[in-house]
């Protein structure tokens, strides 16, 4: 039986194969990735595109969450100051309604309440990153201006629209309440009550002062209810932040499952390929000079 005397082609092709295995293993070790070209795993490469998009999106959701959280916290702390001011106004009203004050005293109290009204207007004009947060979506318009001719003593210049921001897939949070709802709702009118109290104090009628103080108290209750919106929003965003972080971990571990090279495996492959290669080389070196001529002298 004849065999192919030109076996060096076969051994060479084995050598090439070992070399290419060596290259693959080296590349995996160097990059830490299984998929260095789409052809390494076409379906996996497509998955990586989607995974990368989701990771980027999750990053963005995290950023959105902290920006919105900042805005809600700013609104909440402004409203907390409004609550303090209203409490102050209620004490002043109670003091004015106790029947022991001269008109001069009452006028002085009315002055203080006016100061409180100014403060509340300023608080209602709070802005976050240059945008007014109580003017609906008209964020470039200052929501409240003092207006002695208006029944509430102020004019609302904003609109009644709201914005929402997506902070996770299918999860959008409302980022604002219009000032007209927070400060001048049907359940309580902060500016109306304050104006009522000022007018009552100036009139000197104890009963009217008492009624106006009650109105301020009612508006305080209403405002506190509105404030809950912001508190809830912050809570929701906090838990969303936690969710997003675990989501990010999930996505990264998914990426690693698809693309992460098993370094132990890759180094084993590398040394296997090297062994194969040196074995083939040794065989080649031994076999090529082997022929009958060596045994003739």
């Amino acid at each position: 039986m004849r065999v192919n005397p030109n076996f060096s082609d076969d051994i060479l092709s084995d050598l090439y194969q070992a070399q290419s295995q060596e290259e693959t293993a080296l590349q995996q070790l160097a990059s830490g990735k299984l998929i260095n070209l789409p052809s390494d795993n076409p379906a996996g490469a497509a998955e990586l595109v989607q995974n990368q998009a989701l990771q980027d999106q999750t990053d963005q959701y995290e950023q959105n969450t902290s920006v919105v959280e900042g805005q809600l916290q700013t609104a909440d702390s402004a409203l907390s100051s409004v609550v303090d001011s209203l409490n102050q106004a209620i004490s002043l009203g109670t003091q004015g309604a106790n029947g022991t004050n001269s008109q001069a005293d009452l006028d002085a109290i009315a002055q203080q309440v006016q100061g409180i009204q100014n403060q509340v207007v300023q608080l209602a004009n709070t802005s976050y990153q240059g945008n007014f947060i109580f003017s609906g979506t008209a964020t470039s318009t200052q929501p409240y201006t003092l207006d002695s001719s208006a029944p509430d003593g102020v004019t609302y210049n904003g609109n009644t629209d709201t914005n929402t921001v997506e902070v996770a897939d299918g999860n959008s949070v409302q980022t604002n309440l219009p000032g007209s709802q927070v400060f001048q709702g049907t359940g309580g009118d902060v500016f109306g009550a304050l104006q009522q109290l000022i007018t009552a104090l100036q009139s000197g009628n104890t009963a009217t002062i008492g009624a106006a103080t009650t109105a301020v108290s009612t508006s305080l209750n209403y405002l506190s209810q509105q404030r809950v919106f912001y508190g809830n929003g912050v809570d929701q965003l906090n838990s969303n932040q936690t969710f997003l972080q675990s989501e990010q971990v999930n996505l990264q571990s998914e990426e690693n499952t698809v693309d992460g090279a098993n370094l132990a495996q890759a180094s084993t492959n590398l040394s296997n390929a090297q062994t194969t290669q040196s074995a083939a080389l040794a065989a080649l070196a031994k076999v090529i000079p082997q022929n009958l001529l060596q045994y003739l002298s």
Binding site: P38, D56, Q63, T137, N159, T164
Partner: protein, 457 residues
């Protein structure tokens, strides 16, 4: 009865034959490493014996012919497999460049798509912010650029392959010319009844080179070899060759013509077929997907723009523009004004009500049925699939080719051991025949000196 002369004649004949056999052995050994060489064997036969009385006496040996040992079937299979292997290899080389364009998930169209939508998502937290609007425009420009670059790079690969088509056709023409020339010489030798061994080896070697370039059909006829293209048009008939031409095809690419007929689509395998496959099928396929993605994405986004209002309270205008032919290459920004992003749903600058519509483009299916990111992921998978298929074909056809070459080597390869053994045999036979000559010479002298006291010298 035999005579001394007969013995002398037989021995000298044997010397000639052994010398001839040693020549063949020597030639085999000399060509042991020559690519395409088929070993030659000597055909030794007994001379016709003569009848002498009731005895039949042998008259020695003769060298009947020198024959190349070849297998036409295997040569044919090797040619076909070579065509396939080279076709896959050329295809793989082209497709590896293509998949390289889509290999990094952190850059390119995919990454720029998500960066674009993320910048819009960012804008939703502060829709009137000029800096954030500008970053949306920057992200949009990056996205447009990555579409343009992908289309452009595909075009560059395509035109590189296009150039290789004309240079390959030139090589084919030069090979068919040489083959026709040898074919003519082979025909002449065969008419004279000679073995055209080494010419056939050369011809096979040239056909093998031709098979690396394109698929050819080999037909053995009485007038020698006929080679045709896969389509059946003649390349070589007898000592005549027919050149292929290149010319502009309907797609503006170089098409291949054989005697006036456009045979481009029938060329399969070989580096010519591989290049044509990638140039005319694989790259246009990916480019079509890319164009569909670009045009459908741009249209959807422009529609979403129209549902809202820009920073100045005007109805949203198109952000992207493109030409229907080659959307990916021609995609551009219709405006560079950051105010143009239609974030607002009520016309006020602080409203972000339309951003939900803009963002919906990222996740909603395009008319093609999948979201933009998924459409891009499909393109990545497609480029990978094509390359890995070509890789698998290269591996399979290479191992099959190795096996065929092994089989041919078993038949036609020169074994140094075998040749050395033969050499020793012929050497021994030659020495023995020489000794016969000396012995007969001695005997002849003895005969001449018979009966005389003087020794003839």
């Amino acid at each position: 009865m035999g005579t001394l002369n007969t013995a002398m004649w037989i021995a000298s004949q044997a010397l000639d034959v052994d010398q001839g056999a040693m020549d063949v052995t020597s030639n085999n050994i000399a060509n042991a490493s020559t690519p395409g060489y088929s070993r030659e064997v000597v055909d030794l036969t007994e001379q016709t014996p003569i009848e002498s009385g009731n005895l039949t006496v042998g008259t020695g040996v003769s060298l009947e012919q020198i024959q190349s040992v070849r297998s036409q079937v295997l040569s044919l299979l090797i040619s076909q497999q070579t065509t396939q292997q080279n076709g896959s290899q050329t295809q793989l080389n082209g497709l590896q460049q293509v998949e390289g364009l889509f290999s990094d998930p952190t850059s390119g169209i995919g990454a720029n798509l998500s960066a674009f939508f993320n910048s819009i998502s960012q804008l939703s937290t502060d829709p009137s912010n000029g800096a954030q609007r500008q970053s949306v425009m920057t992200a949009a420009q990056n996205l447009v650029t990555s579409f343009n670059q992908a289309a452009q790079s595909l075009g560059t690969i395509q035109s590189g392959l296009n150039q290789s088509v004309s240079s390959t056709v030139n090589q084919i023409n030069s090979l068919t010319q040489q083959i026709a020339q040898i074919n003519g010489q082979v025909g002449q030798m065969e008419q004279l009844g000679k073995d055209p061994g080494s010419l056939l080896d050369q011809e096979n070697q040239l056909i093998n080179q031709l098979s690396q370039l394109t698929n050819v059909n080999e037909i053995q006829t009485e007038n020698g070899l006929t080679l045709t293209t896969g389509n059946g048009t003649a390349l070589v008939v007898g000592n005549q060759s027919f050149a292929l031409q290149v010319g502009n095809g309907p797609t503006g690419m170089q098409d291949v013509f054989s005697q006036g007929q456009d045979i481009t689509s029938t060329i399969q395998g070989g580096s010519l077929g591989g290049a044509i496959q990638v140039r005319d099928q694989d790259i246009p396929g990916i480019l079509t997907q890319l164009n569909t993605l670009a045009s459908q994405f741009a249209t959807s986004f422009n529609n979403a723009q129209a549902q809202g209002y820009d920073l100045n309270g005007n109805v949203g205008q198109a952000l992207f523009s493109f030409n229907a032919s080659g959307a990916a290459a021609s995609l551009s920004l219709a405006t560079t004004d950051p105010d143009a992003i239609a974030a607002s749903s009520d016309g006020t600058s602080g409203s972000n009500g339309n951003i939900a519509n803009l963002m919906a483009v990222e996740t909603s299916p395009l008319p093609s049925g999948v979201s933009p990111t998924d459409a891009y992921a499909n393109i990545v998978a497609q480029s990978g699939n094509l390359a890995s298929q070509a890789q698998a074909e290269v591996t399979a056809s290479t191992s099959s080719l190795n096996q065929l070459n092994d089989q041919l080597g078993e038949i036609s390869g020169v074994s140094i051991n075998e040749e050395t053994t033969n050499l020793l045999n012929y050497q021994t036979a030659f020495s023995a025949a020489a000794r016969v000559v000396t012995t007969v010479d001695q005997l002849t002298q003895d005969v001449l000196n018979m009966g005389s006291g003087v020794t003839a010298s």
